[in-house]
Symmetry: C2
Subunit: 344 residues, 2 copies
């Protein structure tokens, strides 16, 4: 598309202007834009020329109002501070953009009330579909979306009740796998560093996965070995120090989010604690640092980009009126590296 200079004063040219200039009716221009097959070759050429000359840009709000389709898809993420959701969103945006949709994005800083407000605003803006992270939100939000007939999809989670379409993986299973892996190595004294459980089903499920799996072999997570913190490397450092200064140290620390694990490893180095000899550390997500850090991090690889791509495909298919099967949970994978060893 070319952007040229012939823009008149304040007022942008409208479809009517294009029509006049091309010698056709406005409705023909509309068809040219929305379904070119309905327009003759001759008209097509004249219209194309007029559009170029006038530098016409269709008025999306008017289209939305008339057609009840905004060609916008909304998304609310908990944070853009790490690249975690950024990677999902980037892929998502790229896919929907190819299909002619725009992304309207908000970050809610892990605040449920803010999320609700953002969703409301997005509904008001007439988003055609919505991508959300996780499944910790009020029922009324889903009801609103259903009432307004807005397709939506939840990522980073699965919905065991099959009530909502999810493109994600089982956080519980993932946590379970990594717990089993550590128990297989011989660990019995566990700790977990986790994000805040409240309003965060991912964190909650991971905790549950750890607890249940431990229980299956008669173990448990002592209350003071479960540390809740806001996400971040520094918080991981703090938690690690707290844990390792205790008389009864854990031999394995499961981190519910990767930055915690990085923090633990950094702090271990500073404290002169050998990882994995003295304590094993696991991460969650497999971000780029995991393979580069020393010791490299044993972690769970989550399908960050795949979720973005599949979520986009799902929603677009839905918007095209196709019958889409409820997506299946995605697989996760334990990436074994150097940060874990049998307890000494």
């Amino acid at each position: 598309m070319k952007i040229s200079e012939s823009i008149t004063n304040k007022n942008s040219p409208t479809m009517g202007d294009v029509a006049k200039s091309a010698g056709v009716a406005p409705v023909t221009v509309s068809r040219y834009l929305n379904d070119p097959d309905l327009v003759s070759k001759r008209s097509k050429e004249k219209i194309a020329e007029a559009i170029r000359q006038l530098n016409y840009v269709p008025h999306a709000a008017a289209r939305t109002l008339a057609s009840k389709r905004s060609r916008m898809i909304g998304s609310i993420v908990p944070s853009l501070d790490s690249s975690l959701f950024g990677r999902t969103i980037e892929v998502f945006q790229s896919h929907i953009s190819t299909a002619g949709y725009n992304l309207i994005l908000a970050s809610n800083n892990y605040d449920a009330e803010k999320e609700r407000e953002h969703i409301n605003q997005m509904v008001s803006h007439g988003v055609d579909a919505l991508l959300m992270i996780g499944n910790s939100r009020d029922e009324s939000i889903y009801r609103l979306l259903q009432a307004k007939n807005i397709p939506y999809v939840l990522t980073w989670t699965i919905d065991s009740n099959q009530e909502h379409p999810c493109i994600g993986f089982s956080n519980q299973e993932a946590a379970s796998s990594i717990t089993n892996y550590l128990m297989d190595l011989g660990h019995t004294k566990f700790a977990m560093i986790s994000g805040h459980i409240k309003n965060n089903d991912r964190a909650y499920d991971r905790l549950k996965g750890v607890r249940d799996t431990l229980a299956q072999r008669g173990l448990s997570l002592a209350d003071d070995n479960f540390i809740e913190r806001p996400f971040g490397v520094e918080q991981g450092r703090d938690a690690f120090r707290l844990l390792m200064c205790r008389p009864n140290k854990p031999t394995a620390i499961i981190c519910g989010s990767e930055p915690f694990a990085y923090g633990a490893i950094f702090e271990g180095k500073k404290m002169g604690i050998d990882i994995p000899k003295e304590v094993s550390i696991t991460g969650f997500d497999d971000m780029w640092l995991a393979s580069n850090i020393t010791p490299s991090l044993t972690t769970v690889r989550t399908p960050q980009q795949q979720m973005g791509a599949l979520a986009a495909k799902y929603l677009i298919a839905k918007l095209n009126g196709e019958e889409v099967p409820l997506p299946k949970p995605l697989g996760i994978e334990i990436i074994v590296r150097e940060s874990c060893a049998p307890p000494f």
Copy 2:
């Protein structure tokens, strides 16, 4: 705001419905929404009640069409893959959200043509303002925005010609500072790992900063000591290996982007090259790893979040019709850590 269930069928309630239910004219409801001071207390109460009962959500597209204000602000970033722009955007979004604006976001993957398309779409969507990164784009884009009277701001850059409002810092000066710092340490054999220069004024300016500053002391950057790569840790590793396998190794490597520096440090460890004894490494941006990595990274701290906040403030003031002075360049700061030392 409460989201309740009483939504009728397909059709959402309109302002007319609210008006009827409240026993006032639609226009009064409009005033209630846009300028409540104009409405009597009695009407206010009735309208509030009606809105709650009907679960009315204003139709943003209709508002946009009628008022010529979309309450959306657009932004195009080169990438969301690292958290670099994510942090700026997160703060930006949070600020504009407080002022009642929504963010419409696209990532263009460092592709100029994609950016142009996205801008066009955003203009079409009637964004009230636009945030862009850097200053490498066709003049016609600026002309379009000016013609449409859409305020915009460029971040991560300054505009020496004062043609465009920028909230940023001088990449050239920043690069110059770090080069001087290294020269002061005694280095004479320099290399640089940089992102692709084309369509990236930030990368270009940093290179220029290095070259010019070197030249001031009679030094220069040998052509094959300048390595251009896509951004990323792996690329940093590759470039580092390439550089350090040469007969005539550099003693200082300036990285135009932080992930390159991380890659260099990781690869240095793998190759058994001592940083900073054998070679000094500098980064650019001061992301969270810089202080945690071993050796910790001497780098330039860029005001990532400040730019987001100031850009939001600037645009909102502009949209409120206030006279806003052209923002001044932001300061940068060299953060000295462990990754640099005098050449041996």
